[in-house]
Amino acid sequence: MIDTVTKYYLNGQHAGYIVTHKDSNRTLSVPVAEDNTDYQEILKWVEEGNTIEEAD
């Protein structure tokens, strides 16, 4: 279950999202790619009213 989603950048370009989970220390680095099911989960998570955080 997704806990937080944070954008990350490389060379000033939005490269993807860091996803943390509520029931584990599992972390995902998720690319912005429509065929990636983790990315699809992020979009669904946002649709449910959650907010993506900007990088520090």
Binding site: T20, D23, T27, S29, P31, A33, N36, T37, D38
Partner: protein, 406 residues
């Protein structure tokens, strides 16, 4: 030896004709043509419609478990132990999930030495309306076209599997068309506690709704073992219908989340084109471990796992910028653009270079596609540009993997 030259052989009475007796060898000579006309069926344990094809179900014998062989405290859905099989849970207790090595029993005696097992560690005897518990196997569209779904030649489905539980009762299995949001179900019973039982379930053909021939999820098999009324207040459909959540577990009586005594294990999952019974289903098709693993790698690839090797090398590394290290890692082609899946923790990874070592916490992915991309970390490296070395695991709890699961 005498030769009988006739154009047709008919039974003298009834409709059954017997050739030879048990133990005889009946030979069709090389160069001869053996014709099975029209819809005539050949029954028997060697009736394989796809004799040279790989099994539809990848890792059906549960031998490959790249992620882990045992996890605890699971309350929500995810892939945890045996590759390709997803644990499905919401508000239905807490579970330990293991790849269980078999030592006895009928599944073991049929060559199935590993199983996917879930054990309840915190019960939920009064499930909420939205509680659900089960397992799911997902197939991409490229791999299910042989069922000819959505055409006038649509095929039936036969699903076989071994199951064992301490609970007797009815379980429901749903065949799901994820392209067209349709489903069809079948039920089975666990009749004897703590005993492997082989189940063979038939699903109707569906002339409506073609499966998309893409890398996206097209067909899924769903084993339901507990659910609240949101998933159980309907009727289990034996004909294809638009997916109704209330039908997905309508026939389930197992109620596995009700006690910490409860467990459920499955192995030998086999899907066939056509209709078979427990006596005509072909034998489970074992693959070599190497072939099995290769097929799993399309969906998940463990790059390095500290739980197996606490200082495992991940890849050669070089400093791309003062604060960015790149990993020279070429992955197995994936189903889709992968994510980096890792455990997170302070100094879980190490860059060993000529000038010393630098430890860091996380790894990222940049502009990937299914076949290639940049794997890197930008956790404030201080090494000079172009200083080469290698990247390794630096904690026994650390792992890093590529995931392109459905």
């Amino acid at each position: 030896m005498s030769t009988l030259n006739v154009d047709k052989v008919d039974p003298s009475t009834g409709t059954a004709l017997e050739i030879g007796t048990s133990g005889d060898t009946i030979t069709v000579p090389s160069g001869a043509t053996f014709v099975v006309a029209g819809t005539t069926e050949i029954t028997g344990t060697n009736n394989v419609q796809r004799p040279n094809a790989q099994p539809f179900i990848i890792n059906g014998d549960m031998v490959v478990a790249q992620r882990s062989t045992s996890v605890t405290g699971k309350t929500s859905s995810g892939f945890f132990t045996c590759d390709r099989l997803q644990f499905v849970a919401n508000d239905a207790g807490t579970w330990t999930i293991i790849q269980e090595t078999q030592t006895t029993g009928d599944a073991y005696d049929n060559g199935l030495k590993e199983a996917y097992r879930m054990d309840c560690t915190t019960a939920d005897a009064s499930v909420a309306a939205d509680s659900i518990l089960g397992l799911k196997y997902k197939m991409e569209g490229f791999n299910v076209q042989e069922f000819k779904k959505g055409t006038s030649n649509a095929e039936t489905y036969t699903l076989s599997f071994w199951v064992k539980s301490n609970v007797t009762g009815t379980g429901q299995v749903n065949m799901r068309d994820e392209t067209n949001n349709r489903m069809c179900s079948a039920t089975y019973t666990t009749d004897v506690t703590n005993t492997w039982e082989k189940k063979v379930l038939n699903f109707a053909a569906d002339t409506s709704g073609a499966s998309a021939c893409t890398n996206a999820e097209a067909l899924a098999i769903e084993w339901m073992v507990a659910a609240g009324t949101d998933y159980s207040s309907g009727t289990a459909p034996t004909a294809w219908e638009t997916i109704a959540n209330t039908d997905r577990a309508a026939a389930v009586t197992l109620a596995l989340s009700g006690s910490t005594d409860n467990d459920f294990a499955i192995t030998g999952i086999q899907l066939e084109v056509g209709t078979y019974t427990s006596t005509t289903i072909p034998p489970f098709q074992h693959e070599s471990y190497g072939n099995n693993l290769q097929r799993c790698l399309r969906y998940f690839e463990m790059m390095a796992d500290g739980r197996q090797d606490s200082d495992a090398i991940i890849a050669l590394g070089f400093v791309y910028q003062t604060n960015v290290i790149s990993l020279a890692y070429q992955w197995h082609p994936k189903r889709a653009t992968p994510s980096i899946d890792q455990s997170s923790g302070t100094d879980y990874f190490r860059y060993a270079r000529d000038g010393g070592t630098e430890d860091f916490d996380s790894i990222k992915i940049y502009i990937p596609n299914a076949n290639t991309g940049l794997i890197y970390s930008d956790d404030a490296f201080t090494g000079a540009d172009d200083e080469n070395g290698w990247v390794q695991i630096n904690n026994a709890a650390a792992y890093v993997a590529l995931s392109a699961e459905l």
